[in-house]
């Protein structure tokens, strides 16, 4: 959407135009659902987060100041809703002041298997995809949100910082930690070779 279209849409939203609300939902529901599903790891919670995001957005539209795009603003509401729900479900997993410089030792690479040379068919098989999804789910939530927005949804570092209310350097640091953890995990997985299901007696 061009800026002019977006400015018009914001004006219509603020005026309470129902068709504008519907357009906002139509244009953003799929990406918010993707984010929610990857943050929460299950469809029921993802749907709750999706609904909560738009209900909150409709209530807060008057305070939207257009310092970011509507989609970044929605990502921000959705991430907050997801993190709040995760904290409620597993408070020990999502501490507010997590993570940063605590576990540098953890970040030092330990796996040095060069899986780049594996055939694409092995890297892209369903089982490898399932492992990749599990690996995201097992990241600490504060790293997961950065990785999803930056590397999966393709937001810029600045947009990610804006959506998560983090500094640029915090985004970079969390992104690096997330990427290194995922690399470590995929290296370990691929180093065992593709597991081809065998049928045996």
């Amino acid at each position: 959407m061009s800026r002019i279209d977006e400015a018009e849409l914001v004006a219509r939203l603020k005026a309470g135009d129902q068709a504008a609300y519907a357009q906002l939902v139509e244009e953003n529901a799929a990406r918010i659902y993707r984010l929610a599903l990857r943050m929460m790891g299950n469809e029921t919670d993802a749907e709750d987060v999706l609904q909560e995001t738009f209900l909150s957005a409709f209530k807060a539209i008057d305070s939207f100041e257009e310092r970011s795009s509507l989609s970044t603003w929605l990502y921000r509401i959705a991430t907050n809703a997801a993190l709040m729900r995760l904290r409620r479900n597993e408070p020990e997993q999502v501490s507010v002041d997590e993570p940063i410089e605590r576990d540098d030792g953890d970040l030092l690479p330990r796996q040095f298997f060069d899986f780049c040379c594996l055939p694409e068919a092995d890297l892209l098989r369903d089982e490898a995809r399932a492992e990749m999804e599990r690996a995201i789910e097992e990241l600490p939530a504060t790293l997961r949100s950065v990785f999803i927005l930056r590397d999966i949804e393709g937001l810029s570092t600045e947009e990610t910082a804006n959506a998560l209310d983090l500094s640029i350097s915090a985004v970079k640091s969390r992104l690096m930690r997330a990427r290194l953890k995922l690399r470590e995990r995929l290296s370990a997985y691929f180093s065992h070779g593709p597991v081809i299901p065998e049928t045996r007696e």
Partner: protein, 99 residues
């Protein structure tokens, strides 16, 4: 640390020092100076070379991962919860492109 370091002298402190730059390196946003330094190090450090390659591959595999779609039942319930049911467009493409 000098890139003239002997091959096979694997100094973990040197590698740890470069670890922080890898994100910018794979994103193509590392400064030219640091980039040269890191590449000189990778030329003599097999482990760092593997880490950089597999890090870039990890990111690219995730970027290629198919996106989950918004199920139409979930979309219908969303429009209902938001009191927007009359506006639901059954013909619309329910998956929005990535940013």
């Amino acid at each position: 640390m000098s890139p003239a370091e002997r091959p096979h002298t694997h100094n973990r402190e040197t590698c740890r020092h470069y670890l922080e730059s890898l994100g910018d390196y794979v994103d193509g946003t590392l400064s030219a100076d640091l980039c040269d330094e890191l590449e000189a190090h990778m030329a003599i450090c097999e482990n760092c070379r593997v880490v950089v390659n597999t890090l870039a591959k990890t990111i690219s595999l995730y970027r290629q991962m198919p996106s989950p779609e918004l199920p139409s039942a979930v979309k219908e319930r969303l429009f209902a919860v938001l009191d927007l049911k009359p506006y639901i467009d059954p013909e619309s493409n329910i998956s929005t492109p990535k940013e």
